[in-house]
Symmetry: C2
Subunit: 416 residues, 2 copies
């Protein structure tokens, strides 16, 4: 084995990475080209076996923790050192793409394979993690961060419809021992996740690499507006309690709240249901969702307070009753400055164009970032499309992302 | 037989009217108290038989025209004179009340029964009509007005799911001969329909009788807004093509258009459907309905033009495409001044409080008013509720309405 000084001559093998991405995409491939590999499904289990085999071929020691996280360790020169960790997930949404999650896992393996091919070790061990069920329960990364609600397994509803306990057993985990999956601050020197952007920012700005400033936190609320159903002909405009008019005001208010804050948060009404939903009846009830995301906890609080104020105003204006129930509250996770700087230095050295941006989608790094210095590297998504058979990132962009991850690890290996 | 000079001493029998309303309500009565008597259903046919029997008992000659309208004629003193016509319908919505339509039919029979009990004839014959299927196709009143699309039977979708041709045969009608149901101007001296208001105006104004100024016309449109579905996290606010934001602007614009016109038209978005309707996805498609009603054709045109303008504005503001398709276009029918005056005179003579108001719900009078002088008498609906098991008008109010109808006929019988 040789040591890190020679590393500037090593390059990841883009073709090998690309072949693995294609190989994995065969598992759960649908006629329309989408991938259906729900966490804990037979396809997920088959894919985990294949990835495990690739980890072993790359010279890693492989284990599964109580949360079903598949963990490959490639040794370092320093004994008992914290790891340079990377990884992502290989489960998909019901009709997903072939890059979401997969790229991060396979790039990690490719880096190790490259080191192994060159008989090289870094100072720190490298840890490549396949997190269990990122797309639904996020049980894997949450268990590692210690944020699972251990006394409420019923809250973790899996997409295959079986209990989380049963599901974990299918992939070698164990709900009863979940606490053992929790990692201590200090176990990892850093966690860096490579992922497709799933957005349009890089493409529109013509940047090759996105340096993530953090993963946004989220407030998600269910809002119910109660008015009075009535005949759309015989009810004069000034006697109406039209729940849909109130909802329309709220949809626009949600947009205005986000647009009015300089940090450029996002806020969305994605779900809206009208009752009775008949052409000739003034709507009596509307249920809708509000989803608000930002990197800053202060901004999330401010948006929620503005929403609460505007709800009172709209209820008064429209003679309706409006109630709000929290659905989800996720704290944001900032990326560590050291990791962002390491990624930026690599981009400059490699001559790659880059920009800083928040991740407004959730990722395993959101949780792992609670117990170690976290960073994320984004590569462009064509037309911003994700969770779709049309999700696409070019082989060159995938290779660039993997190279940046590799060199970031080398950078962090020096600095730590 | 005695003649009309003695008529001021005749009163309708409120108890008998009330008993008939209750008797008819037994047909199609649901466990919750609602009435389900869909046009052409076995319940409708059973109810028509009962009403026919009551017509015969009241001394009327009964026939059914090609549109399935059940017509009772009570003779007059003048031979070959036009009729004083009244009537309404006895079919209901899937979960309707016991007064909607029924009151108008049974009040007509009660008037005739009162005349018969007193061995009295008016100058003109009285015609009591049970119109076929008011609640869905309006085939009965449209056939009488000659507004049926004779070459498009598929447009007349019945609530029992069978073709209009089959349905008409069930009640003694015949699609092929539908043209024979058309009535000429001059067949009727006037048509006056008594109906429950199905709105809150009379109750809120504490009036006993509503004198209808006309039945509003209607424009009904289907609008499709096409934006772009996208990730609610990763799509910055300024890169969105949010179909629901566009829809919200449109819902408010529809309300503003109605509020901005002095004649107090109504305009409603009652149906709105979001695609894909997921909490974490920016809506890519919204379908919605617009229903606009007013007494004035000019106002309807103005509202439609304003809507077309605002659609272009909103599409531009939201980077969406918005298309509009007409669903329904019904011309308004004004009530005849002579009939309104006759009703008003009666109210004054009887000491009943009254007001003038448009009918913003459709009624058989909407169509029949196209071929004769039309008027409508409204009695209050408790809390404005209709099409519901909670539809209610007191026996006293029903009797007042029938008395006003009776005396209006006596008034018209003198004036014609």
């Amino acid at each position: 084995m040789v040591t890190s000084p020679t590393l500037h001559k090593l390059f990841v093998n883009g073709e090998r990475l690309h072949n693995k991405i294609n190989e994995l995409a065969k598992i759960g491939l649908q006629p329309n080209g989408a991938i259906r590999r729900l966490a804990f499904s037979p396809e997920d289990i088959q894919a985990r076996k294949l990835v495990q085999q690739w980890m072993l071929e790359a010279g890693m020691k492989v284990s599964t923790d109580a949360a079903g996280n598949l963990i490959g360790i490639y040794p370092g020169l320093i004994e008992n050192a914290p790891t340079l960790a990377t990884g992502s997930h290989i489960d998909t949404v019901p009709s997903g793409g072939r890059f979401d999650g997969v790229l991060g896992v396979l790039a990690g393996i490719e880096i190790v394979q490259t080191l192994r091919d060159n008989n090289t070790l870094l100072n720190y061990p490298i840890e490549v993690i396949v997190f269990a069920d990122e797309e639904s329960t996020m049980i894997g990364c949450q268990a590692m961060a210690g944020t699972v609600l251990l006394d409420a397994p019923e809250r973790y509803q899996t997409k295959i419809g079986e209990s989380i306990q049963t599901c974990l057993e299918k992939i070698g985990g164990n709900w009863q021992d979940l606490i053992t999956a929790k990692r201590s601050r200090g176990d990892m020197a850093a966690f860096v996740e490579l992922h497709v952007e799933q957005g349009m920012v890089l493409e529109r700005m013509s940047k090759e690499i996105g340096i993530v400033e953090g993963v946004v936190g989220m407030r998600r609320m269910a809002i119910t507006i109660t008015g009075q159903s009535n005949h759309a002909g015989t009810t004069p405009m000034n006697m109406r309690q039209d729940a849909l008019v109130a909802a329309a005001k709220l949809v626009l208010a949600v947009q205005e709240i986000a647009l009015g804050i300089p940090s450029q948060p996002v806020a969305t009404v994605g779900y809206l249901n009208v009752v009775p939903n008949a052409v000739n009846i003034v709507p009596g009830l509307v249920e809708l969702s509000v989803d608000m995301r930002d990197l800053s906890l202060g901004c999330l609080d401010e948006m929620q307070q503005q929403l609460e104020r505007v709800i009172i105003e709209i209820a008064g204006q429209t003679d309706t009753q409006i109630s709000m129930k929290p659905l989800l509250c996720v704290e944001p996770t900032p990326a560590a400055d050291t990791v962002q700087l390491a990624i930026e230095t690599v981009c400059q050295e490699m001559g790659l164009s880059y920009c800083h941006l928040p991740s407004r989608a959730g990722h395993d790094a959101l949780e792992v970032g609670r117990i170690t210095d976290m960073g994320m590297i984004f590569v462009p998504s064509q037309a911003g499309v994700s969770h779709s058979e049309n999700e696409y990132t070019t082989p060159e962009q995938c290779t660039q992302g993997a190279s940046v991850l590799f060199n970031t690890f080398i950078g962090l290996d020096k600095h730590k």
